[in-house]
Symmetry: C2
Subunit: 346 residues, 2 copies
């Protein structure tokens, strides 16, 4: 039976997921036994659609591309328009809520309330939003458990690169004593360009032109984005209960071409490194620019690519390198959680 | 209930697994809900023990370390000695056979016959042996399926680094169009040393001193070891039906210090690269020395470390870097299959 989805938010990531479900419907059914329909979409700006039998994904994507809104979706018997996010979560027949709103990372809202409402209404959630995972993981994972539903969070760190599923599934049985990672693509791109001879300002400008960095780049370059991912990794993988203010943080804005050159002469490279270490006195975490030697697998990670190393007691250090963002990549991060919910493996 | 294991073969890998089961019994039970006992061990050289209630792992390891044999294990009521591998597979009460014999890679024996016997007797198999997976994957996986049992093969490529579980589980839903990897640690160590200024012969000698290379290094340096892993990846991950004679193969013995230096000047590095590509005319695969650019994540993989890149249609290129061998690492590769059998996820 098709897995029924309600999308809360319909920006790039939601459209990315919809495109995948449309274009890969056949192989997903044939090879993974996975079938999904989108029964509802509710977006603050684009409007809202609900049909218990499912929406026509091709038409949804068409009108969104052409008009930027869901208003132009054709009327059909049984179609309901105008439900807000909470009505959609509570009243729709969706099995799973796809929470992909634009969320204020400082408060985690509205994503946290959406997750709560979904769990209390007996619905699973999959999300690529950092907010609810970084700020409310203990509460929300317990609430999901109590209500007998699942919470998929793969996309909250490194988008579709399975940074959370690998330690939880493929490295189960290991004690992970240390996690080190390059968790922000924008700063890694800037550092790569500085190694090619650009100043910080030139590299930032280039990152902004390419859409990697926002007009106000603070969240990336000062390490806040990476900090939230550190909190997620510490709490989800190491079962710590770290809050964001317990993570030391320093950005890359102070790095000069001289610093870059000095590292090169030492056979090293600057990376905005996230470090999480389990010690006698609990879990300690930081985000800061670190010179790392070239024979560390993280040193070879260039441009906007992300990477993470899990230092395991049995398997040794295991490093995963891949995309940290992207329309299709993040769409996939939601899909892989949906497939695993369907398999009963989440 | 404890998962009952029979170990066929008790060399380094088997002892590595036994040590893990002994030393990590508490966290495995508490955190993963996994409990195992070893009911039988049958080794061509060291002898054979069977007790339906389980052997004392600590004593087994002690006598093996002290005497190199299982003969000194104390008699207890119900203990049976002397069963050969097939008697152990057929008559023991094990749920799962751990197939870790010394296997002739040319014929895949005795591992293939051990797997067959286990499946026909309704027992799961976990193995780190390349032989049965490279030479008989279609037949054996079908036989396991027909008998309603599981076949864990994680350790057959990159030991405990989850090279097989990641594409099958965490990247499910992707079409994997290309796989590229450094699948042999010995040759990667030799190439790393040649970059540090050693000749091929000097680097090989060093690899032999460290136990990375055997007295006859042909299997590693001529690319045969990597070739078998290529066959496994192509058949398991890409669902091809490639045989070993269909893989192009060239070793590293022809590389000179001049070649190394020339690559360096081009901003590249020689790697013994395994490549598998899905094309219009099926799956093509090769193992050969290739100069790869420094911004490829595989270029930074040094010493005996292994790595593999999966080029995915949705998640993009995802690279995994980690150990390719080792007592505890390979022991873990068996454990992770056992944990997943127990979870019903294999």
């Amino acid at each position: 039976m098709a897995h029924k989805l309600a999308l809360i938010g319909f920006g790039t990531v939601g459209q990315g997921l919809a495109e995948i479900l449309l274009e890969k419907a056949d192989p997903l059914r044939e090879e993974e036994g996975f079938e999904a329909k989108i029964v509802a979409i509710s977006d603050m700006m684009k409007g809202s659609l609900y049909h218990p039998d499912g929406l026509d994904i091709r038409k949804v994507l068409e009108v969104t591309r052409e008009t930027g809104s869901l208003e132009g979706y054709p009327d059909t018997p049984g179609l309901i328009r105008g439900w807000d996010s909470f009505e959609t979560i509570e009243k729709s027949n969706a099995d799973t809520i796809v929470e992909i709103t634009f969320t204020d990372i400082k408060t985690g809202q509205p994503a946290i309330d959406h997750c709560r409402a979904a769990f209390e209404n007996g619905k699973n959630v999959v999300t690529s939003n950092k907010g609810p995972v970084a700020l409310a993981y203990p509460e929300l994972s317990e609430l999901a458990r109590k209500n007998g539903v699942k919470w998929g969070i793969e996309g909250s760190v490194m988008s579709g690169t399975p940074a959370l599923r690998i330690p939880r599934v493929s490295l189960a049985g290991n004690e992970i004593k240390e996690i080190r990672g390059i968790l922000n693509g924008t700063t890694n791109y800037i550092l790569t360009k500085m190694e090619e001879g650009l100043t910080y300002d030139e590299a930032l400008k280039k990152a902004q032109e390419l859409g990697y960095a926002e007009a106000d780049p603070t969240s990336d370059v000062e390490g806040y984005d990476a900090l939230y991912k550190v909190v997620i990794l510490a709490n989800v993988i190491m079962k710590a209960s770290l809050t964001r203010d317990q993570v030391e943080r320093k950005g890359i804005t102070g790095l000069t071409p001289d610093d870059i050159e000095q590292a090169r002469q030492e056979g090293k490279r600057w990376k905005l490194l996230a470090e999480i270490k389990k010690g006698q006195d609990g879990v300690r975490a930081s985000v800061s620019p670190v010179k790392i030697p070239l024979d560390d697998p993280l040193a070879g990670v260039t441009d906007a690519t992300n990477a993470v190393t899990y230092v395991c007691d049995l398997a040794g250090p295991v490093t995963l390198v891949g995309a940290g963002a992207g329309r299709t990549e993040t769409g996939f991060s939601l899909l892989i959680d949906l497939i695993n919910i369907e398999r009963g493996h989440l």
